[in-house]
Symmetry: C2
Subunit: 245 residues, 2 copies
């Protein structure tokens, strides 16, 4: 087991344990360390890097929590032999399309600044009847219409423009305003398409839709966005990776 070449910058504002955790993560995910490989033990590593054991331990714990490493008392720490061990994450076909180099396109169908929707208002923690910003978008994968995305935002966001949404995407616009969605609760189901949805998405037969409603919150738990999306089931699926401690 070769000693990993780790560089720690004590003058950096980035915490030491995080610097270490990032470099260890890189070593595992780029294949420098193979699944099953033994890991340098905590005492040796803290000695070699002139870090305290708690600091090293905290860095390793980050990888353990992500499922990249397995600790066994009396044995040592080894690299988990599973590729995909990301902590509960959500990816979608849309992300896959981007990874494949295809260019998804979004068209804003409507942008209304004083829409009423009681379900959305409730999800946003606002009283029923509150005028909301309502966005309906159509998302293409290449030339194929893939999904209808309906989203609602609090009334304070009423100066959004169609152009912003089409070029940057909804979440990028939110982040640019200092709003950082951190937690989201998503409900995934299925239903048949309405006639209009079938027209909009160019669906020929009675192919079903995958539906997803999402409430997103910032770090404080304040609601920032509510969405109701539907996707062509033949073009879309959701990958979820769940893990227990």
């Amino acid at each position: 087991m070769a000693a990993l070449p780790i560089q720690i910058d004590r003058s950096s504002p980035v915490p030491l344990y995080h610097q270490l955790a990032e470099q260890l993560t890189a070593a595992v995910s780029d294949g420098t360390l193979r699944p099953g490989d033994a890991f340098e033990n905590e005492l040796a590593m803290s000695d070699r890097l002139n870090l305290s054991r708690p600091t090293v331990r905290r860095a390793i714990s980050e990888l353990v929590n992500k499922g990249l490493l397995v600790r066994r008392r009396g044995i040592g720490t080894t690299v988990a032999n599973q590729m995909v061990h990301r902590r509960a994450e959500l990816t979608s076909l849309y992300d896959d399309l981007i990874r494949e180099g295809r260019t998804p396109r979004t068209e804003v169908l409507s942008l209304i600044c004083s829409a009423q929707d009681d379900r959305a208002a409730e999800a946003l923690g606002l009283p029923p009847g509150t005028p909301l910003v309502s966005i309906v978008r159509l998302r293409y994968a290449g030339d194929l219409p893939l999904a209808i995305l309906r989203n609602w935002l609090p009334p304070a966001m009423d100066d959004l423009t169609t152009k912003q949404l089409e070029t940057d995407g909804l979440y990028a616009v939110l982040r640019a305003r200092g709003i950082r969605p951190t937690v989201a609760r998503q409900r995934i189901g299925a239903r048949n398409a309405t006639a209009e949805e079938r027209r909009t998405l160019h669906m020929s037969k009675a192919e079903p839709l995958v539906t997803m409603t999402r409430s997103a919150y910032d770090a404080d738990g304040s609601p920032v966005e509510f969405g109701d999306h539907c996707y062509r089931a033949d073009q879309y699926s959701v990958d979820v990776i769940v893990s227990e401690r």
Copy 2:
């Protein structure tokens, strides 16, 4: 902010930080602490309970990681004002139904000990053609058929009985054998039901199915189970809670 009545048993084999974390979790989830409430600060709590600050801090960190609490430097720690805090968990539908107070029932439609399925074999990390244990179950919620559950297990599990599966559930049987699924990769989508599925699930119209394929792994990353489930879309949806750091 009232001081919570915490009981710590130093003679217990359960780690102190975990005892504390459990009692704090209970206080948050049973409503003793309301969203937005200020939390006793770390120093005061460690002083009051005669625990060190790192121990208290570690307990609080558990809740923060689960999304129950929010820490702000200079401010203090507060209860997150969000309803559903559960981190994406690895549970079966059976567990979900029990939580909702419904009485689920499972009927084993078939239990084959030398089934062949190349997709399942690949998911289990076994060569194609390996004989697998194949289970097909029908899940009821009350009197309503809800889902068809197809599962495959490695050949070593060929002594399962129908009765075990019907009374305890698949995951309980696995756990009883020391197999602890820890990580799962799930793909959720939708499709139309076949004629046979429609018959089995007593579906009248062309109602779609929610589909979920799942590969489950233990802590080492070894595959332990592969499942291909389909649910009546009008009766079922999947909740996922995603959180970013």
